[in-house]
């Protein structure tokens, strides 16, 4: 990657244009002056040619790392390969040109896609039906919790204002609950990384709306007590929410509906291969069991029909997988994670040594040379790998969370393992060098403190 220093504003030259528009027929009837409703200030946008724009953004793209660039072992993010046929389907003019308010008689093909996706996701998850309005995973969580509240409200059960969240949960879980007007009760994990059922029991009561579970959890461990947890929560009158961010290892193996979950979301941009786009757009459809079905379409959480373009891509992926290949997806993801874990546990501290699912967590280097998880992560960038998720989950101080996904070959995993071992060696030989990593990227470590204390959020 080469460093390129320009902002588009710095390329601007008065009089240069990058657009091509038809001429106004005849005399323009308005110059946008002479009424209080028109803009007073001059609009300052870049004045650049088309070629300036193309070169500028191409140069920017070359300072970026994507799944197509290389291995992205980012825990809980499921950075699997994004198939190209998906892009082609999503860019068909017959889909791109549809206005969301067109009469149903003119959008039959699009509506069939929703019906097909609903059926496919129901088959994969064991839920009854899905709503496609949520635009991201956290948006799905929020929607799911709204449904949880609708369920209780419909029964006149207004005292249920608390939701239980394990201490290992994704940060969005407690945040979504708070945004939904629920109070959060944290349930602790045991030393083996699983929810402590004994600690859960006294929390349950008539004020509990439900529990949000991630299974496998953020340590990559299957919550094997889920059957008992489901019974306890249901017996107290609560519902079970399934955070689908970690659905990938269960794809083709286990269905959340069968485990007793009442509401769940899926991240189509994780489990169903749609590209992350540098932080969206994604899609977070929410599925429900029979019990919650009557409320499915009550919360209007986004503008039109959700992120249709993302739903199209995910549907194409499901059709490629089919009922045959779907059975291998989760297993191969789990295989890769366990392979990396077993290959590195003699260099990196493995707090929970049992078999993992799609991801697992190291707690820093085995040997303490003052080299932090951040140093390891930054050094990986020098070797052409994206860093794992770091300092999450919060249960371990030096957490390194690794998720390889099923689309990575043995050679890729071996190359990553070799580099991780090499970094462990470097930590012994030259810790200083690691504190300064990365050394081969377009920029070095940024001054984040100044960025936050004296924020510069726009170009002047």
């Amino acid at each position: 990657m080469k460093y390129y220093d320009k902002l588009i504003f710095e390329l601007s030259q008065p009089g240069r244009i990058g657009f091509s528009l038809p001429e106004i027929p005849g005399q323009a009837r308005n110059d946008f002056k002479g009424s209080t409703v028109w803009r007073e200030s001059k609009l300052d946008l870049p004045e650049v040619s088309e070629v300036d724009v193309v070169r500028h953004y191409t140069n920017l793209s070359q300072m970026n790392f994507g799944v197509d660039t290389g291995f992205y072992p980012l825990g809980s993010c499921t950075m699997k390969y994004n198939p190209k046929i998906n892009e082609e389907i999503a860019n068909m003019p017959a889909f791109l040109g549809l206005h969301p308010l067109q009469p149903e008689s003119t959008t039959k093909g699009a509506l069939e896609i929703y019906v097909g996706m609903d059926k496919a996701l129901a088959a994969i998850t064991g839920m009854k039906h899905f709503t496609f309005l949520p635009c991201a995973g956290a948006h799905g969580e929020l929607t799911g919790l709204m449904l949880m509240r609708e369920y209780h409200m419909s029964r006149g059960d207004s005292a249920r204002t608390k939701v239980i969240v394990p201490d290992s949960a994704h940060g969005t879980n407690p945040a979504s609950a708070a945004v939904c007007g629920l109070d959060i009760v944290v349930v602790k994990s045991k030393e083996n990384g699983l929810v402590d059922v004994e600690a859960l029991k006294p929390l349950l009561g008539p004020d509990i709306a439900g529990i949000m579970m991630t299974n496998p959890n953020t340590l990559g461990l299957f919550e094997r007590d889920i059957k008992e947890i489901a019974k306890l929560v249901h017996d107290c009158g609560g519902l079970l929410y399934y955070d689908g961010a970690n659905m990938n290892p269960l794809l083709g193996m286990v269905r959340p509906g069968d485990m007793g979950f009442d509401i769940m979301h899926l991240n189509l941009h994780k489990t169903f291969s749609t590209p992350h786009g540098g932080g969206g757009p994604g899609a977070g459809p929410v599925g429900v069991s029979d019990k919650v079905l009557p409320f499915l379409h009550i919360p209007r959480v986004s503008g039109f029909h959700g992120n249709f373009g993302i739903i199209l891509r995910a549907y194409a992926y499901i059709l490629m997988l089919g009922r045959e290949h779907v059975k291998m997806a989760g297993k191969l993801a789990t295989l890769g994670a366990n392979y990396i874990k077993e290959s590195l546990k003699d260099c990196y501290k493995l707090p929970i040594p049992t078999v993992c699912k799609h991801e697992f967590v190291f707690d820093g280097l085995l040997e303490d040379n003052g080299v932090s998880t951040l140093d390891v992560a930054k050094r990986l960038l020098d070797y052409g790998f994206h860093a794992p998720t770091i300092y999450f989950p919060l249960l371990f101080h030096q957490a390194i969370m690794i998720e390889p996904t099923e689309t990575e070959s043995l050679e890729t995993l071996d190359a990553f393992i070799a580099v991780m071992r090499k970094i462990a060696e470097e930590a012994k030989a030259d810790p200083e060098m690691l504190h300064g990593a990365p050394h081969c990227t377009p920029i070095g470590r940024p001054d984040e403190t100044t960025a936050a204390r004296q924020p510069v959020l726009k170009y002047d």
Binding site: I8, G18, F19, L21, W38, E40, S41, L43, L45, P46, E47, V48, V54, H56, N64, F65, G66, Y72, K80, M92, P93, F95, H99, G109, A110, A136, A138, H139, G171, T172, A177, K227, M253, V254, P275, G278, G279, P299, R300, S302, F304, H305, L319, G322, R323, H325, V326, M328, A329, K331, L335, Y339, T354, H386, S409, L410, T441, D447, A451, A452
Partner: protein
């Protein structure tokens, strides 16, 4: 079932990996899952398709949609998409990247978000903007939450009934579960003056759902006197010529970036934007990119002010947004770079020209009455004096999506730079022919 192109593991690879792990089969990796949870049935999915079969399948579905020329807006505008945009946004370094947590290898994403934030500030006239929201309606709902979070012990908001219906519905949804009191009214200024107790914010459209550019003269002062914040919901494309939220005195601006060259795509993905005055900067939800330097003094960009966000604050967070619509923000940023100030002015002039031409010609048919006073730009409403169903059907038969009926019984039209004079004349002829 044999090999699959997205799974690179050969049987030999699998054997090697299982051996390293010390188990004898893939199923052994699920030994910790209670046996009755392992799904043993056949998944009720279609049989795996080849790539060509997938393409044929979707082409079949595509053929079931009717391609129409779109003359309706209502929150989704059919502007021309310059060819450069999909070319840039489909570059896989942008498309297949994650959220830019590792800034050293994400300067591309971070840089365009910084440019987007700058452009949103310039369009709205406000001081700072975030990295994007899901869409306009959710941005409006988050702005309402922001008003409540930024004013002490205040829990009511006044929402203009002239906002688009789906914007009002989304605000209502978010507010319902957060326990925020929402007053939807046609008479915003009167309602503010009369004094809703514990008023936290007021949200009004820059251009309302009837297409009229609203005058908010004096509104900001009135709202501020009550100790509340003013939010404007805007069409960013129109802000090139329409008075800005800052010029009206608003504290927060939100809206949908779709009008900046994003395809209609049946309603999404679009992108929400949010901008605010500097005093509210640390109350903004979502990601924010800031400029800084690296150890060698090189200018660079990072995600900043993260102390606001869900992954740090967890249950104390005021918003749960994590992924947003980054790639769509790139879409708009490239669009605005191409258009520049002159392109945006000319685009709006073309919309104005076409919309007024159609408006006047439709009125001249005698089949409509004018209902609203005031300036409009590209979208307008008329009161029909003919059978609306017949009118719509005749237009549909000719390949036009136009004259959508609103909940008030009016019909709405929208004209953009894409539409030719010939097409407008055709619409008028069809209207004339409807008995």
């Amino acid at each position: 079932m044999g090999a699959f192109s997205y799974f690179p593991q050969t049987e030999e690879d699998i054997r090697i990996m299982l051996e390293r792990i010390g188990v004898s089969s893939l199923d052994d990796l699920y030994a910790d899952v209670p046996a009755d949870f392992i799904y043993k049935g056949e998944y009720d999915l279609p049989s795996a398709m080849s790539e060509q079969q997938v393409r044929d399948f979707f082409e079949g579905l595509a053929a079931k949609n009717t391609r129409l020329k779109v003359f309706v807006g209502q929150g989704a505008y059919d502007h021309y998409v310059p060819s450069v945009i999909p070319y840039i946004t489909s570059r896989s370094e942008f498309l297949t990247a994650y959220t830019p947590y590792q800034c050293e290898i994400s300067q591309g994403t971070l840089r365009y978000i910084f440019e987007w934030q700058t452009m949103i500030c310039r369009l709205t006239g406000l001081d700072c903007a975030n990295a994007s929201m899901y869409d306009g309606p959710t941005a409006a709902a988050e702005a309402v939450r922001m008003c409540v979070a930024s004013t002490k012990k205040r829990n009511s908001v006044i929402v203009s009934a002239r906002l688009l219906p789906h914007v009002i519905e989304t605000i209502r949804t978010y507010a319902k579960y957060a326990g925020i009191n929402v007053v939807v009214t046609d008479k915003v200024a009167e309602e503010v003056a009369e004094g809703v107790l514990d008023l936290a914010g007021v949200i009004v459209p820059s251009i309302n759902r009837f297409g009229i550019i609203e005058s908010h003269l004096g509104l900001a002062d009135l709202v501020h006197e009550k100790g509340a914040l003013l939010v404007e919901y805007c069409d960013p494309s129109a802000l090139a010529v329409v008075k800005t939220p800052a010029e009206w005195g608003a504290d927060i601006a939100v809206g949908d970036g779709q009008s900046l060259g994003i395809p209609l795509c049946f309603g999404g993905p679009y992108v929400g934007f949010m901008a605010c005055k500097e005093a509210l900067m640390r109350k903004l939800p979502g990601r924010i990119v800031g400029q800084t330097t690296d150890a060698s003094g090189k200018r660079c960009y990072v995600l900043t002010l993260q102390a606001r966000e869900q992954h740090i604050r967890r249950e104390k967070a005021t918003s749960n947004i994590c992924s947003n619509e980054s790639l769509m923000a790139l879409w708009c940023t490239v669009y605005l770079s191409l258009m520049g100030p002159e392109g945006m002015r000319k685009l709006n002039a073309l919309c104005y020209e076409g919309a007024h031409y159609l408006h006047d010609a439709l009125l001249a048919t005698g089949k409509f009455e004018s209902v609203f006073e005031g300036e409009f730009l590209k979208e307008f409403c008329l009161k029909p004096k003919c059978d609306v169903w017949k009118l719509q059907q005749a237009l549909l038969d000719a390949g036009f999506f136009a004259g959508l009926q609103t909940e008030d019984g009016y019909v709405t039209f929208c004209v953009t730079e894409k539409h030719s004079r010939e097409e407008l004349d055709q619409i008028v002829e069809i209207v004339k022919s409807v008995k």
